[in-house]
């Protein structure tokens, strides 16, 4: 486990999480959420949980984001917060 990577990724995770909740566009939120999942996946790889990271990469960063984009596409991108 390499601590500078860990530290950097942990900080980024929080920033992306806040970003995906703050951005005033649902499509942007969906993409940032994908980035968040990918950061998490990196973090778990660093921690040695390869299977979990693999799953998160395929599910969280992949399919979940597609679901989000699909749902946003069927509804609206508009959000007030």
């Amino acid at each position: 486990m390499v601590w500078p990577i860990d530290l950097a990724v942990l900080t980024l995770v929080v920033m992306v999480a806040i970003g995906s909740l703050m951005v005033k566009d649902l499509l942007g939120a969906a993409i940032l959420f994908g980035a968040y999942s990918f950061m998490m996946c990196l973090l778990w790889t660093v921690m040695g949980a390869v299977d979990v990271a693999f799953t998160e990469a395929s599910v969280g960063a992949g399919v979940s984001t597609v679901f989000f984009v699909g749902a946003v596409f069927r509804t609206s991108r508009r959000t007030r917060d």
């Binding site: 860990d6 649902l26 949980a49 979990v52 399919v63 609206s76």
Partner: protein, 132 residues
């Protein structure tokens, strides 16, 4: 020096998981947009997964896959200290799956709500219900 840094990093890990959980929880309760709430819900779930994975970390241990796997035999004696704790990983695989299943249903419900009220903002929906 390395010790101090590693303890800071270690604590940092727990802090981050608690921070993420608070962010997620706040978003579910306070956000007005239904899809934003779903994003918050997922952040909340992921934070808990981060917590569990942190339990499984072991100093000086490698990933939980036994080495020399392709020979069929010749594993010798396996020392538990050499491999990370696999149990939290298993549990969290399940939790991730549950997370994506919940996400699917939540998005389907959000689409239904949108078809009904033509908006995703909670206060606008409540205003429409009150008018009826």
């Amino acid at each position: 020096m390395a010790d101090i840094v590693s303890t800071v990093v270690a604590n940092y890990n727990y802090w981050i998981y608690i921070t993420l959980m608070m962010i997620g929880l706040y978003a579910i309760i306070a956000k007005n947009n239904l899809v934003k709430k779903i994003v918050g819900m997922n952040i909340f779930q992921t934070a808990i997964i981060l917590f569990y994975v942190s339990i499984g970390v072991k100093k000086g241990a490698t990933i939980p896959i036994l080495e020399h796997a392709h020979g069929g035999h010749g594993y010798g004696v396996v020392h538990a200290a050499e491999y990370a704790n696999p149990l939290p990983h298993v549990l969290m695989l399940t939790a991730i799956v549950v997370g994506v299943a919940t996400l699917g249903v939540a998005l389907a419900l959000a689409i239904r709500v949108y078809n009904e009220y033509n908006t995703l903002e909670e206060d606008e929906i409540l205003a429409q219900i009150r008018e009826e």
